[in-house]
């Protein structure tokens, strides 16, 4: 069985400050890891993913996430946030079982304060 825990439901942060959104998972099998972002009144968009190789992955808009196998974590970070980063962020895992099912966390709402 799989589960994903996002420890913070809401994270307010001032513009240009750094932010970390935490994600921990548990799984009986190896997993692939994803972060999705949902802007207001939109569907989810893929932000970044970890499949293999380097444990640090980056997105085109400055976010990065690091896979830590020993701590079963995949925290999302950005060194300096912008107003446009205000959104809800979802961590998800896909078990390496041959299927394509995603298991989502409950989401973290990031609010960037001017």
């Amino acid at each position: 069985a799989q589960s994903v825990t996002q420890l913070d439901s809401q994270v307010p942060v001032f513009e240009e400050a750094p932010v970390e959104l935490r994600c921990n998972y548990s799984s009986s099998v190896s997993v692939y890891l994803f972060w999705y972002v949902q802007y207001p009144n939109q569907g989810l968009q893929l932000l970044l993913k970890y499949l293999s190789g380097s444990t640090l992955v980056e997105s085109i808009n400055g976010f990065e996430a690091e896979f830590n196998k020993s701590q079963t974590s995949f925290h999302l970070r950005k060194p300096s946030v912008h107003i446009s980063d205000t959104a809800e962020y979802f961590c998800a895992v896909s078990p390496k079982t041959g299927a394509n099912n995603l298991f989502f966390g409950t989401g973290t709402r990031l609010t960037v304060i001017p």
Binding site: K49, N100, G107
Partner: protein, 113 residues
């Protein structure tokens, strides 16, 4: 770019009605999914399909059914709508492989009165 289109952004229906939510994808993806999204609960999988005319139950299938007669279209059906089915519904599609991301539509906000 993958496009997943949900037929309605907002929908208001009455208790007991039969409700159809439609989803179409344009990338010839094998897999399609229906989720509902509720505050504090994240996304919960209702049904999914790996091929035409094929369906699998997700975590919360009760009160719902699905139809996939064509590869590009996946319909969610509320057989007899109830107020506890008021929610945001999200459709997604993906190609085969557990490392493949899912692509989402913009969602349908459904209110059952």
């Amino acid at each position: 770019d993958v496009k997943v289109t949900q037929s309605s952004r907002y929908l208001v229906k009455r208790t007991g009605e039969k409700v159809f939510l439609e989803c179409v994808q344009d990338m010839d993806h094998e897999n399609m999914f229906w989720y509902r999204q509720d505050p504090g609960l994240g996304l919960r999988l209702i049904y999914f399909s790996y091929d035409v005319k094929m369906k699998e139950k997700g975590d919360i299938p009760e009160g719902y059914s699905v139809s996939r007669e064509k590869k590009e279209r996946f319909s969610l059906i509320l057989e007899s709508a109830s107020t506890n089915q008021t929610s945001m519904y999200l459709c997604a599609s993906s190609t085969t492989g557990e490392d493949q991301p899912q692509h989402f539509g913009d969602g349908t906000r459904l209110s059952i009165l």
